[in-house]
Point group: C2
């Protein structure tokens, strides 16, 4: 079956035909029940589109835009929610409280301009939609009172690489290009953006930019922000186009205003992106540590060594067991270097030495690969197991939702000197709620990205929920964890963005002065206030 013909799931992750089958789900339920010592787990059937009863659209597009618009149940249902745990829970019960009235599929920038004009004039909220993988309520049309309706602006028809400039390794790319669509167009040029968030297959360049996505590189080029040479953004009061520059010091960065604006100031339509040569040389290793704390010390040394590994993901014992098959309770560091120019042997050698200084062991040794001959680096052993589990995780999550398990993640970043306290506080806060509400819960932690001044810890929570009560329990866990993050020097998000779910903590964390500056900028650029209302700038209606 070709990609074009495959159907996206309207309620869960990814492709419908990649979801766990009923049989696989039942098997998973048995294994989960055994693992956690539960008396069996009831599996609810997957929701059916035919069972939905969506309210009729409240608005009608002007004739000139009608050909871009869809009001099918599948389109409206599929654009009602992102892919957070609480989104999938709701959808699994067939509850879509805020479906868009209309889904608009612009073909080009002129269409986007026309849609913003229509919506500004008619008081219709515009919620940009890329791959729909938001886990923070960024794409749901829950826009509050005072609007005539809401459109979901699906940009995935605008998916072309418009120019490739080989000398500067740059390309001008439309914002609606999904990860694989974008990489497929760069591959013939020997180039790659090399931005691989877990959502890669189901997220777009524009979504990455709007949400300050975190990707492939564990160090240095962690966020998409640094890969941007220039951007075009359509606002209701004009188009912003920055200069394509390798670096500049002319005033506050124009691009940084829109990076992280999550549709609240306008719609990013294209960007000149800095690309990489496709890496040829790779070195990878799985380094085992007695526990997370000793592993963290080694990773801190690595982060401050200047070695700049491309992969430096430290899994605690629980995570290493669950997702990489490590059975002795040790923490696992998935360490990798890559280069298109030279074998990174010296860097890996020194990195392994540094890990050794902190008690790290490399039982399977270092794998060196020259992809001119093979592309199998790091696909085997604990590292390979982790990678496979990483990519399948969202599908597995959807199956767990059907058995009312609570399974969700959140992430942060904090200075190294605060990590120990933050980790304890977050773990305790989650355990307190799961013990009280679920009997027990499991919290695991990994580092997805690391900096010289601190790690980006990523937490996963598992607990048995109760049918109908999952969202309330999760919201309680999330609130407790978020308070723990904020009172222990963390950020409410390192790379999942703010959306609607994180607004209360984002507003706490953001300096009030900056909040007023952004609100003033929004009033200037989006005077009708129709751009993704309630996100980044709090609701004023």
């Amino acid at each position: 079956m070709s990609t074009e013909q495959r159907q996206r799931s309207w309620w869960g992750w990814g492709w419908e035909d990649e979801a766990l089958t009923d049989e696989q789900t039942a098997k998973l339920a048995t294994s989960i029940a055994a693992r956690f010592g539960l008396d069996g787990l009831e599996v609810r059937p997957a929701p059916r589109l035919a069972d939905l009863d969506l309210p009729r659209p409240r608005i009608e597009p002007p004739a000139a835009l009608a050909h871009l618009c869809s009001i099918t149940d599948r389109d409206r249902a599929g654009h009602s929610l992102g892919k957070a745990y609480r989104d999938v829970v709701q959808a699994s019960y067939g509850q879509l409280p805020h479906p868009p009235d209309v889904v608009v599929h612009p073909r080009d920038e002129a269409d986007v301009v026309a849609v913003l004009e229509w919506c500004s004039d008619a008081d219709i909220a515009v919620v940009p939609y890329g791959g729909g993988s938001s886990v923070v309520g960024g794409v749901e049309p829950d826009v509050g009172e005072g609007f005539a309706g809401a459109v979901s602006l699906d940009l995935t028809r605008m998916d072309r690489v418009l120019e490739v400039e080989r000398t500067s390794r740059s390309a001008r790319i439309q914002a609606g290009a999904l990860g694989p669509v974008l990489e497929d167009q760069l591959r013939p040029h020997g180039l790659t953006l090399r931005h691989f968030p877990q959502s890669f297959e189901f997220s777009t360049l524009g979504g990455w930019l709007a949400t300050r996505s975190g990707g492939h590189y564990a160090t240095v080029l962690t966020h998409i922000d640094d890969m941007v040479a220039s951007m075009r953004t359509v606002t209701p009061t004009g188009i912003s186009e920055s200069r394509r520059l390798p670096g500049s010091g002319a005033g506050p960065s124009p691009d940084r205003l829109f990076l992280g604006s999550e549709g609240s100031l306008g719609v990013i339509t294209e960007a000149w992106m800095r690309l990489q040569d496709r890496p040829r040389f790779k070195a990878s290793a799985g380094v085992h540590f007695a526990n997370l704390a000793t592993g963290a010390e080694a990773v801190r040394a690595l982060s401050q060594s200047g070695l700049a590994p491309s992969n430096c993901r430290l899994l605690d014992g629980g995570e290493a067991a669950l997702s990489a098959g490590v059975e002795d309770g040790s923490a696992l560091l998935v360490l990798g270097f890559e280069s298109a120019d030279h074998p990174p042997s010296a860097a890996m050698e020194r990195a392994v030495e540094l890990c050794g200084d902190h008690g790290g062991r490399v039982p399977a040794g270092v794998t060196h690969t020259d992809t001119a001959s093979t592309d199998a680096a790091g696909r085997e052993g604990a590292v390979g197991a982790w990678r496979n589990s990483f990519l399948r995780a969202p599908y597995t999550r959807d199956a767990l939702v059907r058995m009312s398990m609570i399974v969700e993640t959140f992430e942060t970043a904090c200075p190294w000197d605060r990590f120990g306290d933050l980790h304890t506080a977050v773990t305790d806060a989650v355990h307190e709620v799961t013990a009280r509400r679920c009997g027990f819960g499991v919290v695991t932690c990994r580092f997805t990205h690391v900096y010289p001044d601190g790690p980006a810890p990523y937490f996963t929570v598992y607990a048995p929920g109760r049918p109908g009560d999952e969202m309330a329990i999760w919201d309680e866990i999330k609130a407790a964890a978020s308070e723990a993050l904020l009172s222990n020097s963390g950020t409410i998000t390192h790379h999942h963005a703010v959306g609607r779910h994180h607004m209360p903590w984002y507003e706490q964390q953001r300096p009030d002065v900056v909040g007023r500056a952004i609100a003033a900028a929004k009033s200037a650029l989006d005077p009708a206030g129709v751009c993704n209302p309630g996100v980044i700038v709090g609701r004023s209606r």
Copy 2:
């Protein structure tokens, strides 16, 4: 004589006692005349403070602030202009058209708050002043009509490192710390900010942040922006304090709003900065190329190799001759790697190999240094000559001003594919003006910083001026060069900031939408419009 007792020049660069003596200046005049085939050069005497006739201050500070204020001629004259060529020319003629009415020396943040309150209430423009080394008119109180007066807010009393956090290699530092003052306080901790702009001795942390200064590192950590973990900024409507974080994705970066704001939104008072371990291992080499074009190809390959040299400054033949004593007309690449963790031998070896692929020769070989035993890396030969000339250049410039020579620099950044055209256009534009106005002129070019997608070219212009006509000639050169930059895909500034001199081109280059957003933010944070009027946000009065 101790540092404390030394006097800063009120009209020229740096320390009064480091300026060229009359005798040295006369000798320089002879040598310059010979070099350029001129019939001798008349040397004007250096200006004298006693000859100035400054207007009386138009404002009087409130009693509560009087102890922070100075109205001495030396203070007011010294805070009247930055250190651009045109500034020093004006000052050398004793022309200070816009002296501040009062120079205020706050001791702490509360003082800054009080000053902004006074000035907002009394309609007095506030021009922040760090080391005063602006070369773009950023610190001159040329604030336009409509103000009762102008104060220069000199932050250099706020120069303390307030906290050092070793684990995360971070420190909280007051904005008024001059480079050496700051480094002196970090040295006992084995740490360094390692931000060494040419103005290092006479510029402050706050100035670097406000102007997005470019420093030591030729790659990756080029601008100060990336070394900031958090900032405090006093605005007339409140203090902004961001969280100290290694990375975050929570909305548009709060710090990036103030980085590059050049005092237009408020006054930066302190920042948590990311530090480095003091480097121990260094490798340096001078690589010779037939010309700038072949050197540029090698540097492009280096910039895209992932090797990340700390120094990668390519001088064209003219610059290599003038400032590094290279006599055969070849271009010189000053190449260096450094690390606190490991000898960068493998990186240097590969870099030299890459240069060799592009015809680069390393006649003096590579110097490897372990600073545990010596600190002499790169201090000899062509590289050492260049470094010495680099640091003395502004003093020499002041002497050249006295003989009515035109000597000034400007810098930009552009994509690699545009560099050839940009270089030609800029050189032609300058030559056209110098030929017409001066008989001839010399333009040289170097790369100060390089990126995978383009270089940051830095141009120096020399031409014989005419007494009384220097500024007009320079302004004509500057306008022609700036037009050439903007019409050839450059930025009006890579790391010299916008100030008042660059505003016309900055406003051309900046997307209008972003201009409106920043103006709206300014109105919200600085409703009286007293913060560095005319910089970043155009004058509205």
